[in-house]
């Protein structure tokens, strides 16, 4: 019988699912990996490696294998999405007021309480992933002066993948499912019926929220949504999924995209890019054969590339309205 353990991390919630007798070992392994990722990749911790890399102002800096991997994953995401998922948008997020851990400023309405921001928000394309130079041989990285990195799009997914693998290893190869703020990774063998997952707009809403039950057996599952991490900035509602081409919150017509892939990292890259790509997303996801569920701004849902249609609470997008 599977059981769950829940604890806060990375400004979100971690859920570990495994057999009851190995749950403590699995949870401990997950916590270790997440702490390691946080220390390497957080842009909200003064003691993180990422902050030190930014302070190096363009000088080549020796980094840990963890940060090296996270940066390589981020650059790979940018390359595979033609820059639609770009780690160099840290400054754009700060300009929009997202300059601290989101959990620090939440009020009852779920909005970050802003005390101010830059006088003139920067608008325009982000510097681009090409501003990052990685030398795996020497484990050194340089980031162009003034460029602020945000690895949030991929580092959390990488943490889920690594945590699931580590937890399975720590339990002697048992099956473990790790959900890190809605990014899900499976490690080890799945239960006979698969891992049960509720897919919704907001991972905090729980299993009773409108959405769909599915089961997964391997790989990863990620959901990106413009309905969460929203806040007011200068009288405007903004969210955290930025279009690197404009430096502004993406507005492509999809409010939530869920993707299943061979890993949580790949799933996250695809779901994030789909939000940015808007109408071009369905064809792109189908060409990659990635099972996907897309919810448009009107709340209608589209199932693609083998994603099951049964049991979805939301109305399907009429066939005639599916983007070609």
């Amino acid at each position: 019988m599977s059981q769950t353990a829940t604890f806060p991390a990375l400004g979100s919630t971690v859920v570990v699912v495994s057999a009851e007798e190995v749950l403590p070992e699995a949870s401990a392994a997950v916590a270790l990996v997440i702490e390691e990722i946080d220390l390497a990749c957080s842009r909200f911790r003064e003691d993180s490696e990422l902050m030190a890399l930014g302070a190096a102002a363009g000088r080549a800096t020796r980094v840990s294998p963890m940060l090296l991997d996270a940066l390589q994953v981020a650059v790979r995401a940018a390359v595979l999405t033609d820059g639609d998922v770009d780690p160099s948008l840290g400054a754009a997020l700060v300009d929009l007021g997202y300059d601290r851990d989101f959990a620090e400023g939440l009020d009852d309405d779920g909005r970050v309480q802003r005390s101010g921001g830059r006088a003139v928000p920067r608008v325009g394309a982000v510097p681009g992933w090409q501003s990052i130079r990685i030398d795996p041989a020497s484990c050194t990285v340089s980031v162009a002066r003034g460029v602020q990195l945000d690895l949030g799009a991929t580092a959390k997914a990488l943490a889920a993948d690594r945590a699931a693998a580590a937890a399975s290893a720590a339990t002697g190869g048992e099956g473990v499912l790790v959900a890190l703020g809605g990014d899900i990774a499976a490690g080890g063998p799945a239960p006979s019926g698969g891992w049960r997952v509720r897919v919704t707009d907001d991972h905090r809403a729980g299993i009773d929220a409108p959405g769909q039950w599915i089961t997964v057996r391997d790989g990863g599952l990620a959901t990106s949504s413009t309905t969460v991490r929203r806040w007011q900035h200068r009288g405007e509602q903004v969210h955290h999924l930025l279009d690197p081409g404009s430096g502004r919150p993406a507005d492509g017509g999809w409010r939530t995209v869920s993707v299943a892939a061979s890993s949580c990292v790949d799933a996250n890259i695809a779901s994030t890019a789909a939000i940015v790509r808007g109408r071009r997303a369905p064809r792109w996801l189908m060409s990659l054969g990635l099972p996907s569920r897309l919810v448009n701004d009107s709340g209608q849902v589209l199932h693609l590339a083998g994603w099951p249609s049964a049991g979805d609470d939301l109305e399907s997008v009429p066939r005639a309205e599916v983007p070609a």
Binding site: M1, S2, Q3, T4, S12, V15, V17, R76, L80, K156, A179, G181, G182, D183, G193, W195, R196, V197, R198, D201, D202, H203, R204, A205, G206, I207, A209, G211, W213, I214, T215, V216, R217, D218, G219, L221, A222, T223, S225, T226, V228, T256, A260, A261, S262, S263, D266, I269, A270, L288, G289, L290, P291, A305, G306, W307, P308, S309, A310, G311
Partner: protein, 123 residues
């Protein structure tokens, strides 16, 4: 007093010396021209067929043919595996659960054991 015969002898000696000097100058010019021509031809051959110069001095004659031709060493990144080449679909696609979960079938007022499940949503 010099006699006519002495004058003629001296004139002949002067002509002979001048002829010998001209021969010596011509020989030096020939040697220098040949050297310059050899250098020019060597430079031309080096430009047309690089890497085919003669072996270094002191190298055994057999090394010319036995030694492999030097090759340019290029540092290549390690071969990428499948997952690095592109976004990969899962081994098995998500499935719809065979039955409605108990938590959904039960009325809200009746407590039911929550089945182990995770939520995927925006975060």
């Amino acid at each position: 007093m010099h006699s006519d015969s002495d004058v003629r002898r001296n004139a002949g000696r002067v002509r002979r010396d001048a002829l010998l000097a001209r021969v010596t100058r011509t020989r030096w010019l020939t040697v220098a021209g040949a050297g310059a021509l050899t250098a020019a031809l060597a430079a031309l051959a080096g430009a047309v067929a690089p890497g085919r110069s003669s072996a270094k001095s002191g190298q055994p004659a057999t090394a010319k043919t036995a030694a492999p031709r030097p090759t340019l060493t290029v540092s290549m990144p390690p071969a990428a595996d499948g997952a690095q080449l592109g976004l990969q679909p899962p081994g098995s696609a998500p499935q719809a659960p065979p039955t409605t979960p108990a938590s959904q079938a039960q009325p809200q007022s009746q407590p039911a054991p929550a089945p182990a499940a995770a939520v995927s949503g925006g975060s």
